[in-house]
Symmetry: C2
Subunit: 396 residues, 2 copies
Amino acid sequence: MISGKIRKMMESSSFIRKMFETGARLKLEYGEDNVFDFSLGNPAMDPPGTFTETLLEKAADLHMHRYMPNAGYVDVRKKIADYISSEQETKITENNVVMTSGAGGALNTVLKTLINSGDKVIASIPCFMEYKFYCDNHGGELELVKGKSDFNLDINAIETAITKETAAVIINSPNNPSGRIYPQETIDNLALMLERKSNETGRTIYLISDEPYRKIVYDNLTVPQVMDAYKNSIICTSYSKDLSIPGERIGWLTVNPEAEDYTNLINGIILCNRILGFVNAPALMQRTIAELQGVSVDIDLYRRKRDYLAKKLAEFGYKFRVPEGTFYFFVEAPEGDDMKIVDMLQKERILVVPGRGFSLPGYFRIAYCVEDSVIEGSMTGFERTARKSGLKQDEK
Amino acid sequence: MISGKIRKMMESSSFIRKMFETGARLKLEYGEDNVFDFSLGNPAMDPPGTFTETLLEKAADLHMHRYMPNAGYVDVRKKIADYISSEQETKITENNVVMTSGAGGALNTVLKTLINSGDKVIASIPCFMEYKFYCDNHGGELELVKGKSDFNLDINAIETAITKETAAVIINSPNNPSGRIYPQETIDNLALMLERKSNETGRTIYLISDEPYRKIVYDNLTVPQVMDAYKNSIICTSYSKDLSIPGERIGWLTVNPEAEDYTNLINGIILCNRILGFVNAPALMQRTIAELQGVSVDIDLYRRKRDYLAKKLAEFGYKFRVPEGTFYFFVEAPEGDDMKIVDMLQKERILVVPGRGFSLPGYFRIAYCVEDSVIEGSMTGFERTARKSGLKQDEK
């Protein structure tokens, strides 16, 4: 009785449901505290104190719950534009910014604006698989291309995939699930290639940079900017991860003022934000985050978790690239079998996500945005699983 | 460069943009206070005091900004289910409720779940024209049928429009823009007809009841329930209007537990709420409204505005049906020319929306969710326009 497409989507996501059900069953059987859940990017850390202070201050103001322009409050957008300008080396104004219901809202709004029925959008493996739905929502199709073995973008692979149907390329750096930051040289090469291919195909290929992890980086690295590198660029982001407020659905997007067809693009995006039913980003959260530009949770807490896990997982014999950003490890599955290692870890009451959930079987993802006690409690299970998988050398 | 469809949508909404620009120009020229803006359903009234108290209490809790199930917090849904059960004479549980980003989010989520490409959704004129976009978003088409001259549903007209492609009928009572409450008898007849036609076409026709104005009713009227009348029913609503918080994007939907294909329907809706990019309804607002079941702004304030306007507009010679609910008057345009009266009122610095904005030229809509000073200040202009239009008898 419901849409045939939605029914099929539910059937094909059955492995995720099975995982979820196993997790729920384990928690019921052993108690929440005895299950080590690394499956979701749902930060266990509290938002920074200044977030709550600002929220309470804004919430006390009675007059702020009305509709505002669909793009968001002008003064909020101005504060964000100033912050982006300092970060991106490109002058952004409030007119280039649209407040959104998180990065998910931003991406859908942008994709609806860009996609003609049958268009393709390219992303690099491994990637956040919600992109597939987001493209399909608007009559487009996500085309996945292989990344390099170090999880960097493979510019040649992207170039080969581009046709006249290519509306956009989505990148996500720091990357979920790999934790990779694409270097500035890679972004610059991507930009040059996209310029050349746009000329060749006669169609502007937009670059959509999904950046919710921009502030969660380690070792004094910074995330390269895309605006100055490529004029046809759009940034989508949210405060979900860096302020630990994913339930609140607040983010923004910005369109490069130099982009082709700029006026239609920004007006189309504002229209789509309305007609998709978002209407506008939540009012009180707009007011709150406006005052918190540059603020984030203490990244050093994540860094310590990363360093601990990197040391222990390596000791146990797991193979991985140490993440440069995000709160994910993307670890090689023993014998390349992601479903097997996921099952084995479940027997130790450890929940992780198989690589196929990011179109890259042969790996598994550990989301370490959890309490230290969860990490520490899981070590025995990770170690025993490594031994059983033949990873661990007996007595060094 | 952007989607051809979106470009066309922007072109075709040019009359609304023109109105908006005229309004902005008038405000710039004469000052905000000297323009009488009745164009938007954006309540000028503060939320009730208990809303702010509850919000502050919930905002002080640091731990509530994480992801929760895509359907919303279980305990929040439980409170809403209990409230709906008391209102609808149908037992609703938390499993039948999904928290949404307002009614706009709810409607998109439901329509995506129901619509196969090429399907039709029927609505009665006059109606909120965002429905057209909401259907089109998901590959469907809104089919408008004429209502009766008293703005009641014309069940025969709806029946005639139904084919095998009909996925759903949307009703909106109390109605924007007419202020009409559809009587229980009408709902019951609609239900009987939909049952018969579902049997005839061999396809379940769902009834989507969009009810954001349910609490804004006058003269001791109540809004008839749909759940007991028709099993294949879904209610979508928001707290935007009755709590005066449209900027916050919080609402819910509920699926009749007796509906055909219930399990796929509710699971499909939860999936669509996620993949459309809503992910979940804003967390803090979920927590807040959970405590405010049955609470609303003081409806008597709206009733007084309605009564004042009804008296004055009638004196001036305008023809209209006194609204039973909502905060809208839908008034006959002199000589049936909605664009002309809108222009004439603009010359008096009065902003209203032409009937064609609701697919019914020949009327104009006054949104009276404004301060008394706006209503009072506009009276001279309404009177002068009535005279010029030949409505007003000189000296009674």
